[in-house]
Symmetry: C2
């Protein structure tokens, strides 16, 4: 078999993942300065090439309009000078973040004289499978570079022209730096088979991070043999306890629902203590309706406010990401905890209360990435937590949980120095 | 459908995982004292019931002999009073280890006044799929209990009678404590379908740790949708550099191969610098042969010691776990690094050298869980690292890498205290 015919049998996905894998070791050896210089080059290139990126984005938008894509989705897809400048600024911000690579996490000596150091190293090759927004392309490229990881990107076909142009621009920038251009790979095969293949590339890809809707994430979680960090799904609850301050409870609940309903840390279900509900539910419901939120309630809720429609059994397990809210009246903390245990996706949960014991119990007993006392669940976010970056919000318990910053894109290794020690 | 007929449609695996999942939240709330008391009860029960465990083990051994199981495997399966006492002592040792649960890992305040604490919590439900040795049953039960995790065990059918009796004894012990008995579950269905099912129980099992041969681990890695911590496979290399001290190099190499060839941190391939090989390979080969090790070499090795058989292409990627060793003569560090990059399973790798620059490069550039300078790879072990326990050795980069002690059996959560903060 000639090498030409061999090349034909290897898919784009395997080819590009192989290139990324080859680049990865070099990436792990770069200094912080080398990486930061490359980030600034990338940022400047985006700014300089804004026009050609907007032109490519125009192709995606036109295709989208022809395919009947909703205005909301088109808006998320659309790039303009300001959005491109924001992406470039994002890369510049990453230069200010502490480089985690090479950090000594632990260092100890064993009785036999072995000196063991646990140090942070890159994961290797990160695979991203994601939808729509082209800014994920830039964010992922920047965060993976800063953490010494090569990255294989598989964006959605709806943003293909934009992503292609962005990666061309970033490649052009990397070519002027010490960073191997191959460290950044974009899969352009728009078929499902490239996703299916990518998920099985054990040995070439070290971790896959899916970002997008529930269908995309479920597909990856169910079918990947490469380790996955599950992100995204958020059925978040706010429980208003009997002793809650009315004003605070109302503001937190409204904020958790309507400040940005489309995101994973927004609230889907409001649980209210019976005594509090008897006093205030009518007013609270009215406030939500004024914010154009459709309410769906259990029987006790509808006894107090008959205008509220009945919630179906399925509603309690639905992430609306929309102006819809489930409301349930509960007898107290125990019932709230039980409801959350049964319906939570373990993302973000909140109790509003003035009762310290109830707050402590809620914080301890609720099993979620982020558990709040008297604050909106909308704060579960890498920037709001002060991480300066975020590649996603993990809803699993392995490796990373909650907002993932730079350290969550790293692994460790043990370096051991001896003087001839052997094992008895 | 009546509840009785429903119960018939639920498999043993789902039933037991559901019980574990229900027990898990209670487990996370136990104090260190409650857990330690339970560990001591479990240890005492094993000691007290040694005779009935040995009797059950006898059934496994008899079945094994009837099925033509090898003596080596029968030996690993066999329990006697001393081995049971060692398992009990293992549980007692775990009481002395620091309880990681509840530890505050980070604590910070945001400009808006939010107080964020990152604390250690249990993973939830740990699934173990493992082979042969019944001591894994006890080890896993003890380590999971100390870390507040419920555990679902699926041991091999060859140890089923032993595992059943051990778990009965441990359940009897737990019944006298504050630990819910349901926290410890053993799947007794010996068919492959219970393994297949267990690997897909997302939502009931939080992580699966496979322990056993390559076939078992590959099956879990390829087919699980539950997050997996891959353990075990070890194609470990020792590279003897030009400047190595002969005595030290020989001792380390012999130790890495023969001190216990059946385990994952033993050496499979010896790489030797050409200049060193020209002076010493004949003597080194002789020493290995005296230790009953079969050598397989590349062309350069066979030029120096023609008696060595030729290694096949496949041999360099084979984990022998036996008295067989590949030998390759390399031109220097670069070629050694390249060989390791291509053939390592990223478990444990060693350089023997007196050259500080070469040692530093090896430690930095080799991508493995444990990288050694002048010490045997056999030290990659939770006890040798001083962790006081080990549930396995991770060969993946996500969550845990290298020997996994108690902290590796935990996750984190963010607890956030506010005073009414909402997001702008």
């Amino acid at each position: 078999m000639t090498s030409t015919s061999q090349a034909h049998t290897v898919s784009e996905t395997v080819q590009k993942a192989t290139l990324a894998k080859k680049a990865a070791p070099k990436l792990g050896l770069l200094t912080t300065e080398q990486k930061n210089k490359a980030l600034l080059q990338m940022a400047d290139a985006l700014t300089a090439e804004a026009q050609s990126i907007i032109a490519a984005n125009g192709e995606d938008l036109q295709r989208g309009r022809e395919n009947g894509t909703s205005d909301a989705l088109l808006d998320r897809l659309a790039l303009n000078r300001q959005r491109i400048e924001e992406m470039a600024d994002g890369l510049r911000q990453v230069t200010f973040l502490t480089d985690p690579i090479g950090e000594t996490l632990e260092s100890f000596e064993r009785p036999n004289g072995l000196q063991i150091r646990k140090i942070r190293v890159p994961l290797g090759v990160v695979g991203m499978i994601y939808e729509a927004r082209p800014n994920v392309t830039v964010d992922a490229a920047g965060l993976c570079l800063k953490t010494g990881n090569a990255v294989v990107l598989r964006g959605s076909s709806s943003a293909l022209s934009s992503n292609k142009r962005i990666v061309e621009v970033l490649h052009g920038a990397l070519a002027k730096t010490d960073v191997p251009v191959d460290a950044l790979q974009l899969i352009v095969d728009p078929s499902r088979s490239s996703v299916d293949e990518m998920m099985k590339l054990n040995g070439l890809i070290d971790v896959i991070i899916p970002r997008g809707g529930a269908a995309l994430i479920n597909n990856v979680v169910k079918n990947a043999s490469v380790p996955v960090i599950e992100t995204g799904a958020g059925i978040c609850h706010t429980y208003i306890d009997e002793s809650a301050q009315l004003d605070m409870a109302l503001q937190i609940a409204i904020n958790a629902k309507v400040q940005r309903p489309s995101v994973c840390n927004s609230m889907e279900t409001l649980l209210i203590h019976r005594a509090f509900a008897e006093r205030h539910l009518a007013m609270i419901a009215d406030q939500f309706v004024q914010q154009r939120v459709e309410l769906r309630g259990d029987a006790n809720t509808r006894k107090l406010v008959p205008a509220i429609h009945e919630a179906s059994a399925q509603d309690w397990d639905t992430e609306y990401n929309d102006y819809i809210l489930n409301v349930r009246v509960v007898d107290g903390l125990n019932e709230a905890l039980e409801h959350i245990r049964l319906h939570s996706t373990m993302h973000s949960e909140c109790i509003v209360t003035e009762d310290a014991a109830n707050a402590a119990r809620f914080l301890q007993e609720v099993d979620a990435a982020a558990v709040y006392h008297n604050a909106s669940t909308r704060f579960t976010d890498g920037f709001e937590f002060g991480f300066g970056a975020e590649i996603g919000i993990s809803t699993q318990k392995l490796h990373a949980r909650g907002p993932m910053g730079l350290p969550e894109l790293t692994s460790i290794k043990y370096c051991i120095k001896g003087s001839g020690q052997i094992r008895d």
